[in-house]
């Protein structure tokens, strides 16, 4: 298995719902209050490989993170730009975040 870019030092593990779970750590994103910082990171551009627990916010281009891998239909919030999103299929076997108004 290749290195999972979203898994921190504690790594990813399984859970009762069959999803991988992640121990998140603050990776230097400082645009939200401290308690929320570990749920976001800066995007490194088109070559930045997203982990299964990460989604790119299409509005402000920040990476949104979760303690579990994302699945289609999941809700997620981008606090830096206040956007609500839902995970949808990208039509090519991948998942993307779509803005919900």
């Amino acid at each position: 298995m290749t290195q999972d870019p979203g898994a921190d030092s504690a790594g990813a593990s399984g859970s009762s719902d069959g999803r991988r779970r992640y121990e998140l750590e603050d990776v230097g994103f400082r645009e939200v209050p401290k308690r929320w910082r570990k749920f976001y990171r800066h995007w490194g551009g088109p070559t930045d490989e997203l982990a299964p627990n990460e989604m790119l916010c299409p509005v402000c281009k920040v990476i949104v993170r979760s303690v579990r891998e994302f699945r289609e239909g999941d809700r997620l919030y981008c606090m830096p730009c206040m956007t609500r999103m839902v995970v949808v299929s990208d039509g090519n076997g991948g998942l993307i975040a779509q803005v919900v108004f």
Binding site: R75, C78, T83
Partner: protein
């Protein structure tokens, strides 16, 4: 530290959190602490040649026009805001815009500009001045949705895009100042897109009104982007597509061509 993740919040709790002054304090503390006038005292200034310095002064003068427009616009919008969360958020934006104006004026002073007001008048882009007048007309007319669209979607997206492109090529102090401003801008255009997106979904007539407004503003936006490309010397291979974020935003709102 709480282990609750933000995605577990209900929509109302989410907006109560992110549109609060508490959230704003916690956010700006992260990237503005120990940065008087937007940059660390450890950041070393570099000498700019005359051409680059002159271009930077013109660019900063136009940033001041944009920030003044947003400062005056958002202060008027506090009164028009339709609910308490929106009023509180707009008050945080007033503070942000005033700070942006202040840090850009301070940078102009660093560059040897003694009379910033005169310099801004001399160098201001007429298209940006037209935009400011149009925005403030909407605010004065009490048109919340149109004014938020003009200010928080069009102007803020434009600023976010230009500032990000500029930050990549700017001198170290200007770049650091811009990074702090960019972090604020995420909140501003995000608020605008979400507020307008919700309203358009509930009011089909609003969509057509905003489409008309977009048509009215498009020439100004394109002109400002074109001028920014020239001032920031962003031409050639690898030059960013400055209108992309703006086009994406209006497309998500269903206001595309």
């Amino acid at each position: 530290m709480s282990n609750i993740e933000p995605h577990a919040l209900g929509a109302e709790a989410f907006f109560d959190e992110v549109q609060s002054f508490e959230f704003w304090f916690g956010a700006v503390e992260g990237y503005l602490t120990d940065r008087p006038f937007g940059h660390s005292s450890d950041t070393v200034d570099v000498a700019l040649d005359d051409v680059r310095r002159d271009r930077l002064i013109t660019t900063l003068c136009n940033y001041c026009v944009g920030e003044t427009a947003a400062l005056e616009g958002s202060s008027g919008l506090v009164r028009l805001a339709p609910n308490r969360n929106a009023k509180i958020f707009m008050a945080t934006q007033v503070v942000d815009e005033a700070r942006h104006l202040e840090v850009f004026l301070a940078r102009l002073k660093d560059l040897g500009v003694d009379d910033a007001e005169a310099e801004i008048q001399r160098r201001a882009n007429p298209l940006l001045l037209d935009f400011k007048d149009s925005l403030l007309e909407l605010v004065d007319a009490g048109e919340w949705s149109s004014a938020v669209f003009a200010q928080n979607v069009i102007l803020e997206t434009m600023e976010f895009t230009v500032f990000r492109a500029h930050e990549r090529t700017a001198d170290p102090i200007t770049a650091e100042v811009l990074r702090g401003v960019i972090s604020d801008e995420r909140r501003h255009f995000g608020f605008g897109e979400n507020d307008i997106g919700r309203r358009v979904a509930q009011d089909p007539d609003l969509r057509s009104r905003l489409k008309d407004l977009r048509t009215r503003f498009d020439a100004m936006v394109v002109g400002v982007f074109d001028d920014a490309v020239g001032e920031l010397a962003l031409t050639g291979e690898g030059a960013p597509d400055l209108s992309r974020d703006y086009m994406d935003a209006v497309s998500r709102l269903g206001l595309g061509q």
